[in-house]
């Protein structure tokens, strides 16, 4: 038994130690900034805060929530995330079901598949996509944030591969009972694929919540910006839109920014435990073929 030998024991202690250091080190930056966000302005500005809040206050959070633009953009983000995820699931899973059929059952399946895969290999790029949204009159429209990325060929293939692992006998039985493809999709495939669907739903939600660039280029008014885009203008570009100038003068940009970073990331941190439970399973399942 190798793990009883002395060299291995020494290695093991060293290994546990190293892994602990690395993984804690991964989150230390986040932790430090969280402490800054809870700290008193002057302490934060003087660089006194390390791993403990100094002069504990929630002032920065209160100020951020007081910003009316913040609340409107939060609402835009919620809308795009819910609508975008629901639509994406419906469209992608229906297509994945049809494409999971054998080419002899669904003639044209391979043609469709290539039609989708080509978009994975080659895309028109930023400018033509922007001009399309412009021509469609979707600027300042929530749909501009939802429709362009609706079909995720990657997720489609993941689901397709998952659908193929569903025992054929189940579907066979529904066919013999007179059900059609749509019925078999709704009552057999969807319920049985819940783990895979949940994984994809969570990934899509995280994607929507985190996506900021589309909002930045397609939404011209501050009131239409999703939270991630609004945060980008505040945190990275250092804009002060929607804040009372007097507040800005009295506040440290530093604690304010730190609080904004955490408010923006909070939903992700909340769903993360669920995400983690699903994603490993989902990825591994999706990778299994035939």
């Amino acid at each position: 038994m190798y793990h009883k030998t002395m060299p291995y024991r020494i290695f093991s202690v060293f290994n546990y130690f190293l892994l602990a250091i690395i993984s804690i080190g991964c989150l230390l930056p986040l932790y430090h900034l969280l402490m800054v966000s809870f700290s008193d302005t002057s302490a934060a500005n003087a660089g006194l805060v390390t791993f403990w809040p100094i002069g504990f206050t929630l002032d920065a959070y209160v100020k951020t929530f007081d910003n009316a633009n913040f609340i409107t953009s939060l609402w835009v983000s919620v809308k795009r995330t819910i609508l975008g995820t629901a639509l994406a699931l419906a469209v992608n899973s229906a297509a994945a079901y049809a494409l999971s059929k054998d080419n002899r059952v669904f003639r044209g399946r391979n043609i469709y598949l290539w039609y989708f895969v080509i978009t994975m290999l080659f895309n028109a790029g930023l400018i033509p996509s922007y001009i399309l949204i412009l021509k469609l009159g979707l600027l300042n429209n929530l749909l501009a944030l939802i429709l362009p990325g609706l079909v995720s060929v990657y997720n489609l293939i993941l689901l397709l591969n998952f659908f193929r692992t569903v025992p054929k006998e189940l579907e066979e039985a529904t066919f013999i009972d007179g059900a059609g493809h749509f019925r078999s999709f709704i009552s057999i495939y969807l319920p049985i694929s819940l783990p895979a669907l949940a994984t994809i739903a969570l990934f899509t939600m995280v994607g929507h919540w985190n996506s900021y660039f589309d909002g930045l280029i397609y939404m011209k008014g501050v009131e239409n910006l999703p939270l991630a885009s609004f945060m980008q203008t505040l945190i990275v570009q250092g804009s002060t839109t929607g804040f009372d100038p007097a507040v800005i003068a009295n506040m440290s940009q530093r604690t304010l920014r730190a609080s904004q970073i955490f408010i923006g990331a909070l939903p992700i941190l909340i769903v993360y435990p669920f995400l983690q439970r699903f994603f490993v399973k989902g990825i591994v399942i999706g990778a299994v073929k035939e």
Binding site: L18, D102, L126, V151, F175, Q276
Partner: protein
């Protein structure tokens, strides 16, 4: 072979279903693909026609049909442009460093994690290192801007402990490059271990048992069983990464860079954004991004062929 296939009960049953609906053509299946096909057509295929702009002097007032053709003017200008060469080099440098480090580090980390026998500890480590993957570059960019500032905690630490003058991490070209590469590793290395951990779980335990019987040490087992078992998946991941040689990660660079370090930090995607959407040089920006898309297309096709050839890898 074909006969055997047609007697497949699933296909038979599906054909029965098709017939019962009175159709030789399974129109339901077509209908189910239709929405996805339509969205892809509008938002992926129609923009492809916009690529014509790269060969025009596009004016918004004249539109794609009315703007004058200029042939390869923009491409000629692009290749004669020193700055374009610089950003291409930056792009390749960032992308390749990330690809290599994001293969080696997760590989090593997965091997170390594999030696942890305490499942609770192992899961906690995984929870911690996967997290940054799910945070956006706006969040992480904001954190890095604060941490790496002149008065940020990292510079305070360096000054107080080592007596070094504050480093201008995001304002000095070389430091900026290092920051880009290592912050990407920070975000992704944990998540990238998943694929190796999955492969590790798939190794036949009988191999280790046999090695135990022969008295092989754990190091020997790792060298002769674990690592060789991971090589195929390593090759697949490495080959597929070839398609990303021009993807330096727009979101990351966009949230961290500033005009001060454009020479060492600007990449193709951020350049296209500035030229196109900020300066209104639609045609030139389209030409630059078309160049990138074409090279990427070639690389992806080659990488998939190689992955198929070496490891029998197929996506569907």
């Amino acid at each position: 072979m074909d006969q055997m296939m047609t007697s497949d009960p699933n296909i038979k049953a599906a054909r029965i279903a098709n017939k019962q609906k009175g159709n030789r053509v399974p129109w339901v299946l077509h209908l189910m693909v239709l929405p996805a096909a339509l969205f892809v057509f509008v938002f992926s295929y129609i923009p492809m026609s916009g690529i014509v702009m790269a060969f025009q002097d596009y004016k918004a007032a004249l539109g794609i049909t009315g703007s004058p053709f200029v042939g390869l003017k923009h491409f000629r200008y692009m290749f004669e442009n020193d700055y374009f060469m610089k950003i291409t080099w930056n792009t390749v440098l960032f992308a390749c460093s990330k690809i290599v480090l994001n293969l080696i580090i997760p590989f090593g980390f997965a091997l170390l994690l594999n030696e942890v026998r305490n499942m609770g500890f192992k899961r906690s480590i995984q929870t911690l290192v996967y997290l940054p993957h799910f945070l956006s570059w706006v969040t992480l960019g904001g954190i890095l801007i604060d941490l790496l500032a002149q008065t940020g905690i990292i510079n305070l630490f360096l000054t107080n402990v080592f007596g070094i003058k504050p480093i201008f991490f995001l304002g000095d070209g070389t430091w900026f490059r290092l920051t880009i590469i290592f912050s990407d590793v920070w975000k992704e290395f944990g998540f990238n271990t998943i694929i190796f951990l999955a492969a590790l779980a798939g190794i036949n335990p009988a191999l280790y048992e046999a090695a135990e019987v022969d008295g092989a040490s754990r190091l020997k087992q790792t060298m002769h069983i674990t690592i060789p078992s991971l090589i195929p998946i390593l090759i697949v991941v490495a080959t597929l990464a070839l398609g990303n040689v021009l993807n330096a990660n727009f979101d990351q660079v966009f949230n961290l860079y500033s005009p001060m370090i454009y020479q060492q930090g600007d990449i193709i995607d951020t350049f296209v954004y500035r030229e196109g959407l900020l300066s209104g040089q639609f045609s030139f920006a389209t030409a630059v991004s078309l160049f990138k898309s074409m090279i990427s297309l070639i690389l992806i096709v080659v990488s998939y062929r190689l992955a198929y050839k070496f490891a029998g890898y197929r996506i569907f």
